[in-house]
């Protein structure tokens, strides 16, 4: 185990960061620290990193809407 951790600088960095993050998350969960601090609201499209499929669908919807708007513009003669 020690050999793996101390194999090179990158493995050591990753292990240190994992321990650091683990301690913080465990402490946060035990003491009931507030889970969310920043909510990033995007006015252009819905982006949820926990739901990539939904993101793909919402992108398809927005593409369809844009195509429909372009078709309507072309039909009315606006470019």
């Amino acid at each position: 185990m020690k050999n793996i951790i101390l194999k090179n600088r990158y493995t050591l960095l990753v292990v240190t960061l994992v321990v650091y993050l683990g301690v913080l998350v465990a402490e946060g969960a035990i003491t009931g620290r507030e889970v969310r601090v920043f909510e990033f609201e995007n006015p252009f499209f819905d982006f949820n990193v926990n739901n990539f499929e939904g993101f793909g669908e919402s992108r398809s919807d927005s593409d369809r809407d844009r195509d429909r708007d372009e078709d309507r513009d072309e039909a009315s003669g606006d470019v």
Binding site: L13, V19, L24, G28, V35
Partner: protein, 284 residues
């Protein structure tokens, strides 16, 4: 701990101070000089009668009051020094282990009877304990020069000198508060110290960029993997309010050191400092 270890550690601390004189002595000396010049310039612009009135008001304000009660007034003057200390400490921490590898002096130090733990600890001690001493000494020198100038002004304007004496005592008492504030701030921000040292020992180039970039990435990964933002919350809770670590009264000193948040910060900082100690074995 035997005498040899103490002498070794003292030598390491002395090396740090000698190699970084500009950050720990030069920078606060420049700030003190700027404050003295600016104050003298302002004093010269004021009309003599108004200056005499101001001096007598100050003399009455401090006369007979406990220096310990009046000491927090002088914390305002220390703000530029505290800011300089934080900035210089950050520059020192991010560069110190990186510089050792860059100029290959790490090979020399590793050939000496000094462990990596002692070397990294000497750098932490330099920032936490030693650097504030130099800052406080320079502030003391500034107060001393300021008081001499003030005494000359007071005598030439025939104002009562006793109040100025009390003011000087309050200024001296404030030095203890300034040192304690710097000490508690360093303990409070020990995770930051550990983080900077870790990336100073890790990065082959641009350690500051690594430290900042990985911090953002780790926050992103926490959100991505766990769906939480404890890291952002924790950093925000520690950095947002300076009242958590600045000390304005002597009674709150022990309370500030021995509380859950500070002690947990020391634990987290120790994890990162341990990482920096092991990281130092990679000399390439």
């Amino acid at each position: 701990m035997d005498r040899f270890t103490i002498v070794q550690f003292y030598a390491l601390l002395r090396r740090e101070v000698l190699e970084h004189r500009n950050l720990f002595i030069g920078a606060p000396a420049v700030v003190a000089l700027l404050i003295l010049v600016a104050t003298s310039w302002v004093a010269m612009q004021i009309d003599e009668t108004q200056l005499a009135e101001g001096l007598s008001y100050i003399s009455v304000l401090f006369d007979g009051l406990s220096p310990f009660d009046m000491a927090p007034f002088f914390m305002l003057l220390a703000i530029p020094f505290m800011l300089t200390l934080y900035i210089c400490s950050a520059i020192y921490l991010i560069n110190t282990l990186f510089q050792d590898r860059k100029e290959m002096s790490i090979l020399f130090w590793q050939s000496m009877p000094v462990s990596n733990l002692q070397t990294v600890l000497s750098k932490v001690f330099t920032v936490v304990i030693v650097a504030p001493i130099f800052y406080v000494l320079i502030i003391f020198a500034m107060y001393l020069i300021g008081m001499i100038l003030l005494t000359i002004l007071v005598v030439s304007n025939e104002v009562d000198l006793v109040g100025i004496g009390w003011m000087f005592l309050a200024a001296i008492a404030s030095l203890v508060l300034i040192y304690c504030s710097a000490l508690v701030t360093s303990l409070w921000l020990l995770p930051t110290i550990g983080w900077l040292l870790l990336f100073s020992a890790f990065a082959k180039k641009t350690p500051l960029l690594w430290a900042g970039g990985v911090f953002i990435l780790v926050g992103f990964f926490e959100d991505f993997i766990f769906g939480t933002q404890y890291l952002a919350n924790w950093v925000q809770s520690r950095a947002a309010n300076p009242n958590q670590y600045l000390i304005f009264e002597f009674q709150s000193l022990l309370e500030r050191i021995f509380n859950y948040e500070t002690l947990f910060g020391i634990v987290v900082g120790s994890v990162l400092i341990t990482g920096a100690v092991y990281m130092r074995r990679f000399t390439d």
